[in-house]
Symmetry: C2
Subunit: 792 residues, 2 copies
């Protein structure tokens, strides 16, 4: 009978499932719905890496052989390649579009204001309004999940929380087209959020093509690659991308993954570089002059002296304060929006975005009008920057509402301009005294306010570029004072602007290493690395005094339950048992009646249930964890229903049809089937299911009185979804140390794999033997043993 | 009686120890030495993060309050600062010394060979011999652990293996002075291994000053900081340093640590930069021209075309092949040295190093003599490099044994030179056709052979610089062919040399991200980042086909049991129970007779023992893990001995003297006390010890039939040293999910901390109450309960 089980091809999958032993030779108990469990109480869906991993492994096993493993790995690398290429191209597309829209817009307005400033203002407002309206319309009607930066959601996903909708293809499309409108429309937000999420989302397409990524773990790996690729593409910062992914994902980082993420980033870098090369030959319109977020400051300050560290530290402190304030204000605004404004429906969201667009346009056009123009600096021979700049080109020294010829409007140079150009102007070297302190202060206050107000509108938005704008403004302000105070020639205000940008991002987002590398890669200058590091350290430290990072705050507002890297202090005083509360544990017997399953599933929202079995001696044993989603698949397919309450293997190979394990795979970003969607006849309800082949036979367990700190570490480090709290063990069967885990590669590796069915039996015999040697003292709950038992 | 326990100040520490409940209200059993355990069977000492963490926590708790925690954190940051400054200064010192020795040496020889080449050769050989002899003498007589690169040991330490001697102060001193000799003496090895380990070692001094770092975890954090600081200092690559530490430590990386490591690296960067600034004003002799490992190639190739990717991929493949071959050859040589040569004592080691020194000197002096000189290239106006270079300065185009005036010796330019200068020459741009293919090939073969032979001699050595030498040689070789083939003007051979260097390091060391960033930071050029990434990917992939990375191979040879990041494939088929083998588990009862402890400790080499207790019902319970080292401290101090086999708390506060928990701290890099060192009288042997206050009450456990893959992940991710294999649980008391771990900061946080003793009682009452509510169904093994029991 046993050999029967191995003859059938599909049945071997089932055998693989049960290859890891999970139950002792024992009789079964039809009752047992008495115990209780608790899980995922508020219905937030978590990713389940461990359980699914187990599942994926067995399916893999079922396919027999290392060839399949190699193929699978190849597929993963291929998708990493695809993600890299796709993200690179998407980023290029977005950038070309935005630059062309904005470039054309400003060229048009500059032409019109030669004749009439009023007409120019009106047309400026209208163009911006149209662009923003198109963006917010796309988002509200078509892809609501594409609003915002998407980073809190990605962060949540990588932390283990499945936020519905973020990985849909329509979200990606919404991101791309929505952001062209919102950034082109001149709102105080950046275009870089989209490729970040876009890269992460892209895999969804792929997974349609090839059903290769059924497990949460593979998906998470792909999202990690996409995240890195997105940053790499947005900033042309491949190493920064890898580090960004790393800083957000440290809890389940593996070195193999680093390797693949690195590859994806390299591909992105090559693709973007090739596209840029193609654009150099004037194929891309306005793109190429501005283009990617990259502000080369290689002609900046050559050296810095010791006394400059003081103003630089000051920049760090300001960054920490303003960044923390930004996080706090955006939290209030977002909460208010969520609780009052956005409850009134999509129409309000559209009105809101349009109102902000008009406001932004009026301020950015009107304020420079009120500002007096400044005479151009005396042009010395080595001075190569044109003043005022010729109409239609980008650069410093904008002539805007200036009466005389040799004058420029310093406020318009930063305000009435694309953000990329404004930042380039702020970072620019050899332009000391271009900006007056008053203009910078005006711009800082206005833009900061606009950034806070704009944050959270229903358009795709990135926070990097506005952050750099704000930071470089006050950085340049400090630079002005430093230049005036120290009276040295080699101090460049642009360098201080760069440090200011780093400090604001550090104070708001609180990333360190990745931000540092991104800043270096953006500015293409390694000289300031130590300074950027120090400024980031100070601003993060100052910011941490007040609140959490921007994305953490936003994630909390959105109800994404992120597990921080450090357990809370008070967890030390609590035990695992206390953490579970007084909830009842609902557990299932091994062979369970369908009606009981239905009633249990209806009665609660838990996502995992312990499965209990009894040994021959009547001893109770926890034999595994059953997922709600898998139970639903079983109920839906009805294939595994059986009439008798006896474990299925005893009924022989007659009903050995398990068509495809892939139906157990979790659907991408959707709720999956619900218990209410499943129709079961009264006959069905009287049937039984043997859960043994479908459960995760060895979930992680902790003793009831383990400190919650340790539990937390276990849970987070391994990316678990469920953790059983069990009584203290009565005895120790062995102690595993480092040495026990250092097994050498066995040479008969492939042989054992090929002869898998044989080895299962062989293994069992070996176990038997060793059990006999130990005087039968060792109980080994073993499903294979169970099979034998029932065959007798 | 209970309140008594809290009145005594020192006793509160003990209470803190036992605050986490570990035993049920139950009577005790004097017997129970029957069960068996197994651990660390071959005596390799592991680090024990979890257990010590637990210990450290309790001591911390005992100090009462968050102030102490803040102070502790401050101390850690202060030490990070010290490590940064110290490492920076040490690196500067080493570099100044090496550069001055080597610079003086070459200046002298060039003077002598104006008169006689023979005399020059002899003096060259003698100077090198003297330097190498001083180095090897220092190492063999004074600091044997300072030989080699130290990276396998550091890697092992960070992986959790305590290699004796690596963290001693004498090792650091030996490293510093030994390496000055070995590198100054012209051996085919680099000077960068030392600050890497030096940084890691430095904390030892610190821990002498302040007994702040008693736990393995704090030490590991400091070593991580030191490791990053070392790389940052050696290569002036702060971000590369952080990533290097990260790639080696990913298994227990925490984001707080990243933050501190980052800080240390930033400090190093600032210190090194300041020292370099000081040296610019001619304070440091020859240093300043060469100096740190930094080869600025910012004047390199501006762009690359698509068809250049082919020769670049070829470089990657060559790098993978030569790197893997290097690893293989060094493995053979090291094994042969270990098994035959170095067994014969220190004298042989000295002879060996001297022989290699003479060999190296003869080859590097003699081979260029055999090579014909090349006429200098026609000097066009834009051509600024002098040919031949003036005597006494560094640079290209060395005149060595050339008959005519306008000639140079291309082999001498790379061979008869310091390594830094040679690499600078190989990387140099605008020097197309400086080197002939034949010279490069000769140099490649000879230097490769020398590097293999030199690897493993008893001198401090780094592998980065030789690796860069080898790689840039064949890179330049490929560059020559590319230039000839494509006939384009903008291709620079120096760029190909850079890619070659990256490829060889990638093929040998198999690091990706950190190596990439280090290469970029070394060459101060971001343009080639995507190319370096691609070359690294290819060379690592090719190398991985053949063997493991250099440091992994070396660690294996040295018997350092590294746990790889990925569990072995065949672990999937094995269970936890099988991994333990058939070894007997030796366990201790809660109150154990001293004689029994001694006999158990003598009978085996295990480092951890389960402690078993019995509840009132006679039920056996595992109450924790006792470390051998802690048992030895108890036996040594004899303070906790008691006459009766009844748990100590029942005897009242009479013997409440536990002077200092710090004696339980592990000594830095020494074996600690052994059981044979402890004298116990026959009276002592009849006494008892209550282990309850000293054990780790909640070690991690796994069910016996969990797959070894899962066990491995748990063990490695949490950095465990012991893991109990226990029978399957009979029931599930609760299921912990993400939601259960998201507790909000309690506002009464500080209050509970201040009233710790009260809260212990409060907590207990609460537990009582909830137990009553649950119908007494829940057993809670609780040492506090036990106390009450015995007071009755």
């Amino acid at each position: 009978m046993l050999s029967n089980l191995f003859e059938n091809g599909t049945e071997s999958a089932r055998v693989a499932w049960s290859q890891l032993p999970h139950s002792d030779e024992g009789e079964l108990d039809g009752a047992g719905l008495l115990s209780t469990t608790t899980s995922d109480r508020n219905g937030v869906e978590s990713l389940d890496y461990e359980v699914i991993e187990n599942y994926a492994y067995r399916e893999e096993q079922a396919q027999r052989g290392k060839l399949f493993v190699i193929f699978n790995a190849g597929v993963k690398w291929f998708f990493a390649l695809l993600i890299g290429i796709g993200t690179g191209l998407a980023a290029v597309f977005i950038n070309i579009s935005v630059e062309n829209f904005a470039g054309w817009k400003f060229a048009l307005i500059f032409n019109i204001i030669q004749k009439s400033y009023l007409a120019g203002c009106l047309i400026y407002i209208l163009i911006n309004l149209a662009l923003v309206f198109s963006s917010v319309y796309i988002i509200t009607q078509f892809a609501p999940a594409a609003a915002g930066s998407g980073i809190p959601e990605i962060k949540g996903y990588l932390n283990g929380v499945d936020v519905h909708g973020i990985l849909l293809f329509r979200t990606l499309i919404g991101k791309i087209f929505g952001s062209i409108g919102s950034v082109g429309g001149g709102l105080a937000l950046g275009k870089e959020g989209l490729p970040i999420e876009g890269g992460s989302t892209k895999y969804h397409l792929s997974s349609r093509w090839l059903q290769g990524f059924k497990s949460d773990r593979d998906r998470r790996d792909l999202v990690t690659c996409g995240c890195a690729a997105g940053v790499a593409a947005a900033f042309r910062a491949p190493v920064g991308g890898v580090l960004f992914a790393l800083e957000e994902v440290t809890s389940w980082w593996r070195s193999q993954l680093m390797w693949r993420v690195f590859f994806t980033s390299a591909i992105v870098a090559v693709v973007v570089r090739m596209a840029m090369g193609w654009c150099k030959s004037e194929n891309c319109g306005h793109f190429g002059s501005g283009g990617f977020i990259i502000w080369d400051i290689s002609d900046g300050q050559e050296d810095y002296s010791f006394e400059e560290l003081l103003p630089m530290a000051l920049i760090g402190v300001i960054g920490g304060l303003l960044g923390a304030l930004f996080n706090q204000l955006t939290t209030y605004v977002t909460r208010w929006r969520r609780n009052y404004l956005h409850k009134k429906g999509n129409r309000v969201k559209i009105y809101e975005a349009c109102l902000i667009s008009v406001l932004t346009s009026v301020i950015s056009f009107g304020l420079p009008l009120l500002r007096n123009c400044t005479p151009c600096p005396d042009s010395d021979p080595g001075f190569e920057i044109e003043c005022p700049r010729a109409p239609g080109v980008d650069g410093n020294y904008v002539n805007f509402y200036c009466s005389k010829d040799k004058e420029y409007n310093d406020l318009a140079t930063i305000f009435f301009n694309t953000q990329d150009d404004a930042i380039r102007n702020l970072f620019s070297a050899k332009t000391i005294h271009e900006f007056s302190a008053r203009s910078l202060l005006t711009f800082l206050v206005m833009f900061y306010t606009l950034a806070v107000v704009t944050f959270g509108t229903a358009v795709p938005a990135g926070q990097f570029v506005p952050g750099i704008m704000i930071g470089s403004t006050y950085g340049r302000l400090v630079g002005i004072f430093t230049v005036n105070h120290y009276k040295k020639l080699n101090i460049e205000e642009g360098t201080y602007a760069l440090l200011g940008a780093a400090s604001f991002l550090g104070g708001s987002m609180r990333m360190t290493v990745s931000l540092c590398v991104i800043m270096v890669e953006i500015t293409n200058n390694l000289k300031f690395l130590p300074l950027i590091m120090l400024v980031l350290l100070i601003s993060k430290a100052v910011g941490d005094v007040f609140n959490e990072g921007l994305y953490d705050e936003q994630a909390r507002l959105k109800g994404i339950p992120l597990l921080e890297s450090r357990p809370k202090y008070e967890m030390r005083k609590r035990t695992a048992r206390e953490a579970c509360g007084n909830q009842k544990v609902l557990s299932l017997p091994r062979v369970v009646k369908v009606a009981d399953v239905v009633s249990i599933l209806r009665s609660n929202e838990h996502n995992g249930f312990p499965v209990i079995d009894h040994t021959r001696n009547g001893e109770r044993l926890v034999i595994g964890l059953m997922l709600r989603s898998h139970l639903l698949v079983l109920l839906h397919s009805k294939i595994d229903f059986q009439h008798s309450p006896i474990p299925c293997h005893s009924t022989g190979g007659s009903r050995a049809i398990r068509p495809n394990f892939s139906e157990f795979a979790k659907p991408v970003s959707s709720k999956g089937i619900s218990i209410d969607d499943i129709y079961l006849s009264s006959d069905d309800l009287e049937m039984y299911i043997d859960l043994a082949p479908f459960l995760n036979p060895s979930p992680y367990v902790v003793p009831e009185d383990m400190s919650l700190t340790k539990v937390y570490n276990l849970f987070r480090q391994l990316g678990l979804r469920h953790l059983f709290v069990v009584p203290r063990a009565s005895r120790v069967m062995g102690v595993i140390t480092r040495k026990d885990l250092l097994i050498e590669e066995e040479t008969e590796n492939s042989a054992t794999m090929e002869l898998q069915s044989t080895s299962v039996r062989g293994q069992r015999h070996e176990r038997r033997r060793s059990a006999a040697e130990n005087g039968g003292d060792l109980e080994r709950p073993l499903l294979n043993g169970l099979l034998v038992q029932h065959q007798r």
